[in-house]
Symmetry: C2
Subunit: 73 residues, 2 copies
Amino acid sequence: MSRDFLQTQPGYVSTALHQSIAPDAKFMLVNIAVWESAEAFKAASAKMMQTAGIAPVDGLKFTPGLYTVIVTD
Amino acid sequence: MSRDFLQTQPGYVSTALHQSIAPDAKFMLVNIAVWESAEAFKAASAKMMQTAGIAPVDGLKFTPGLYTVIVTD
């Protein structure tokens, strides 16, 4: 599984997989992975694609994005 | 601002506003608000709509969802 690989890579901090409470949400699963930097994530992703790749899952569509936290309270 | 109201309500835990690093992301802003329960959030939201409401912002489209964390590592 890709998570098993990614969490061994430099810069990995944590992952939290969120499941929608409503059964008809636009996004049923939201995975929030925290990395020390965008560069660390990109390096780990590139390495994963070179080695194992990502097996497609029927009916699963991804909307990935890289974010930085700008406000917390 | 709606955040100022919400953080005074019972069950509010925290908020983290995320901004996309890429300028052309499908979602430019992702706000992750943590509440003690879905019920606490729904009660606070209902109260906010009754009192102040939410002022629309030109060009801003919301895709809200309620999630529960199912896996962490």
